[in-house]
Amino acid sequence: MIARQETEEAIEEFEQGDEPKEKRELVIPGEVIATGNDYLPGDWAKRDGQDIIALRFGLADKSGRLIKIIPLSGTYIPRKGNVVIGKVLDITFNGWIMDIDAPYPSFLPLIECSKFVNKNDLSECYDIGDMLAVKVLGVKRKGIDLTARGKNLGKLEEGMIIKINSNKVPRVIGKEGSMINLIKKESNCDITVGQNGIIWIRGEKVEDELFAEKAILFVTEKSFIEGLTKKTKDWLEETKNNPKDIKEDKADKKKAKEAK
């Protein structure tokens, strides 16, 4: 009960904190967002003479004098400290090459593995094709350095992996994790959201996992509605009381599998 109250408080906070001061407008590359020397260009915006122009397709966010673009699309660009989920592509003599859906190759060195590793056989620790939760240590010109040391990092076993647009990740997590905690609680699943848009879900039952997946897809589809946490909460409760849809979905999937 206490936990629920906390969530409600978090929702309120989220709602208040998320109210945009000015309505965010959809802009296209090269479009003039504002004119005059009063404004400063932020992320993905540029000054061109008197005008501030957008460099990317996205929403223009004016906070005070600063104008920045919140991108809606595009590949994941790694930043130091991001927790991401990736797949082991190859094993070298001193570590693992991974695919984290970023523009650069990424590497997990042997010493950054959390457990003892037999140097003669790295595949005992992580094998090719394994999914790992890792943290970005740094981004260099030639590639990304990763680490598997830390809480909740390392190999992901069981469960399922889904992929969403990496630009929607902040929405799925919510203010201070309000959204993801809500989904976790309602679906009884363990969920890890990678900043690169890859999400790992593990629950006791497959139904729970499918429910969590549906909830996450609901959030990404409705990501630009205001007061989303509350809407999601209503949706979760409604769907939970009528679990018919999910079961039907499952039956459909089974049918599709058989058809294959």
């Binding site: 959809l26 296209i28 590359p29 090269g30 479009e31 993905w44 540029k46 061109d48 122009i53 460099l55 990317r56 397709f57 996205g58 991108p71 809606l72 699309s73 595009g74 590949t75 523009p103 650069y104 190759p105 010109r141 030639k142 647009n165 630009n167 990501s223 630009f224």
Partner: protein
């Protein structure tokens, strides 16, 4: 007999009916369809992603790679599938036409791949391809300073004509037909593509460029409208 009337009844400065749509290819990072009447082009954008083979990588900036291809059923007589001298040339000029709009200098050693496919051709395929690619690049979230719009202008006999069709390209009477594909940066107005197939005077060429600029303004407004209408996936 002088050229007084266009075969499809359009005015000399009138474009064909344009159809544009963004997000036609769900698995691509960005995609778009652009059609001038019967000419239909689709473009898919992937990346930025690591570039292989490695010797093509540029450690100073990201690389744009364009691949233009016509499907074998896109023309009246079956086209042999696969790359040809013509498609390689068009890939290259499209690349040059789009590059000035992109800001991919911070993506060292990576590539942005653009695949343009012509589904149906009735002249101006490279222009339709450039328009589609420009939309797809914006949709893929590639940093850009501007959009690119392209149109083909022709000199048929002694008339300047906007957005040619195949029948006009093959016109032979009088001074014959000259085909001038043009691409412009929409905001700054810079010319990023200009080819000329045929004969023309300097005066007529200047007229053609002005006609192209006017037509591209119209195309840009449409591109802008289409991009603003997309619901994010």
């Amino acid at each position: 007999m002088a050229y007084t009337k266009r075969p499809d009844g359009r005015k000399f400065d009138e474009l064909r009916k344009i159809r544009a749509q963004v997000g036609v290819i769900p698995r691509a990072d960005g995609s778009a369809l652009f059609a001038f009447g019967d000419t239909i082009a689709i473009a898919a954008v992937y990346g930025p992603k690591p570039l292989h083979p490695q010797h093509l990588q540029n450690p100073e900036k990201g690389v744009l790679r364009v691949n233009y291809d016509m499907l074998s059923f896109s023309v009246t007589e079956r086209k042999k599938p696969g790359p040809s001298r013509r498609s390689q040339e068009i890939s290259k000029v499209t690349e040059w036409a789009l590059a000035p709009a992109l800001q991919i200098n911070n993506f060292q050693n990576t590539v942005v791949d653009v695949h343009i496919t012509i589904l149906q051709a009735n002249a101006s395929t490279r222009c339709a391809g450039i328009n589609a690619a420009s939309l797809a690049l914006a949709h893929a979230g590639i940093p850009m300073v501007d959009l690119v719009s392209a149109v083909s202008i022709g000199k048929i006999d002694d008339k300047i004509v906007t957005d040619l069709i195949k029948e006009e390209e093959d016109y032979e009477d009088g001074e014959g037909a000259t085909d001038i594909p043009l691409a412009f940066l929409s905001k700054s107005g810079g010319i990023t593509l200009m080819q000329l197939d045929g004969r023309t005077s300097t005066k007529k060429l200047k007229e053609a460029i002005e006609a192209g600029r006017a037509a591209c303004k119209e195309i840009y407004e449409l591109q802008k409208k289409v991009l603003k209408e997309i619901q994010e996936k």
